[in-house]
Amino acid sequence: MDIDTGRIADFARRIRKDIVEMVYLAKDGHPGPALSITDIVATLYDSVLRIDPGNPRWDGRDRLILSKGHSCTAVYSALARKGYFSPSILPELRALGSILQGHPVMDKTPGIDMTSGSLGNGLSIGVGMALASAYTKKGFDVFVITGDGELQEGIVWEGALSAAKYRLGRLIVFVDRNGWQSGSTCDEVGGRCPILPRFEAFGWHCQEIDGHDIRAIASAVEAARKETGRPSAIIADTVKGKGVPFMENDNSWHKRVPTKEQYEEAMSVLSERAT
């Protein structure tokens, strides 16, 4: 895949600034888990997804389900910056009457393909969309971004079995393996169980990548798209809070609002350095 990594890195930095600013202005939201998926989101919206921001309901578009819906600030920013709606709306996150709900809602926000936020459900819904892609012969791909903590939800594995059974090559699932969930580390909360062997056991094509390496993300999608006879899991190692040093791997930023000083420090760091 021919990609412009510099442009995508700039896009990712723009998204990270939006995430911090949205949470700061809304005085609410989840910065840490949004920052961990930012490079995946930036790469998908810049170079991977076949979409038309001028026609958000185009029936042949690739679909993206943000199963970890609490990370929606990353996707809201990407959609605004791609032209689905004005970036001036971003500060209205979680406000009364806003199109930017606390978790994604498909009919309120242009570009959101599926309502999400109740964890664990995105993969199964993606199975339905991939079945629709095949049945309607529209040939679109279905991307799901799931957290690692939410893999504790049983429905994930109900869907994983169906996806393999129906050989859904158009279903590509990113697992944002940042190692944390609301309460603590995933290992501590839910128990240790390696992710890749689980998906492999279900018959999936599996890859492990650095979830902050733009070229690796694009290459993994390219490989996944070549797997036409089985679904793909791309297990992306990420850092919760990535890009804002004082948030990185500090789980208090799962859901937390920066102070004015922290906000200014974050914006300053994000303005300086490429991520």
Partner: protein, 316 residues
């Protein structure tokens, strides 16, 4: 004229006809193909039959994904499993996004669930579904009405829940009967002493009660309500205002179903003495359908007793 062995068969016959005309219609099973009597659909449309496995949450989530891409999925499995195990998927991923997903819940009530026992007897399904915004809830009275209603309701936007039985529910209406979607049906009119308001597969019992009452000089109106949500509010208020008292009858817990809906409406628009008959907020047990329904207060005699007491207690 088509005749069916019960509401499951009737529903799938309608579904096949709907699917013949609309290629967006697909069917999702949760290992419920045989229970739903849906092998005819799978044989006729193999590429439109999706087997989600014994996994109801998965089945409903898959339906949501299909519907979000413009298809019109039907999910048929046991009512308790749709409304309890997959309740969140129905609510958050079908009802909230206003997707066109139709659910048919088998084994509604005691007459539907009978010998299987409490695990497979749905006595809360209507109440659970009724609390979800934007969903339509239907309880047809027999197979003929199920067929007519399924066909007539195919164009309804947003999620729809049909309550079906086991296949042993009695036939009340003649084959080929029409239905006016959402409107109550006045089945008998013996007077204005009491309105007997029935939903689902207890209608023959309610008719039996009206006959008993008639012999005693108590005139009853019998109305069959197939739409528990949205309720035919004007139709029900008309009954309540024209009769001295009302009895609701349903094969469901008295909490949350038709009785609750009618009582809520009466409180809003037409305060009326109402007796709510159904399962009295307790768990039932296994047993043959008819005897089981009798034991839990749904015999014609029990319904007549309740109506008689209500009419007698009513101040002159």
């Amino acid at each position: 004229m088509m005749e069916f062995k019960g509401s499951r068969e009737a529903f799938v016959a309608a579904l096949v006809e709907i699917a013949e005309k609309d290629p967006r219609v697909v069917f999702i099973s949760a290992d419920s193909l045989k229970a739903a009597r849906a092998t005819t659909f799978a044989d006729r449309f193999p590429d439109r039959y999706f087997e989600a496995g014994l996994a109801e949450q998965n089945a409903v989530a898959i339906a949501a994904g299909l519907a979000a891409c413009g298809l019109k999925p039907y999910v048929i499995t046991y009512g308790g499993f749709i409304t309890m195990r997959a309740c969140e998927q129905v609510r958050t991923f079908c009802a909230y996004p206003e997707l066109d997903v139709t659910f048919a819940g088998l084994n509604g009530g005691l007459i539907g669930g009978e010998r299987e026992g409490v695990t497979h007897q749905s006595i809360e399904d209507v109440g659970i579904m009724r609390t979800i915004p934007g969903i339509t809830v239907f309880e047809p009275a027999d197979a003929a009405e199920t067929y007519a209603l399924a066909k007539a309701a195919a164009g309804i936007r947003g999620p729809v829940y049909f309550r079906l039985g086991s296949g042993r529910e009695p036939d009340v209406f003649p084959a080929g009967i029409d239905v006016e979607v959402g409107k109550l049906r006045k089945v008998m009119d013996y007077g204005a002493d009491v309105a007997l308001i029935s939903t689902g597969f207890v209608l023959d019992r309610v008719i039996g009660a009206a006959e008993i009452l008639k012999k005693e000089g108590i005139g009853a109106v019998v109305a069959s309500v197939h739409a528990v949500k949205p309720l035919d509010a004007d139709g029900i208020v008309g009954l309540l205002s024209s009769c001295k008292a009302a009895v609701t009858v349903e094969d469901h817990n008295v909490v949350g179903g038709l009785g609750s809906a009618v009582a809520e409406l009466a409180a809003d628009r037409c305060p009326t003495r109402i007796a709510r008959l159904g399962i009295q907020d307790r768990f039932p047990e296994s047993g043959p359908a008819s005897e089981l329904a009798d034991k839990y207060g749904l015999s014609a005699a029990s319904i007549a007793d309740a109506a008689r007491k209500l009419v007698a207690a009513k101040p002159a």
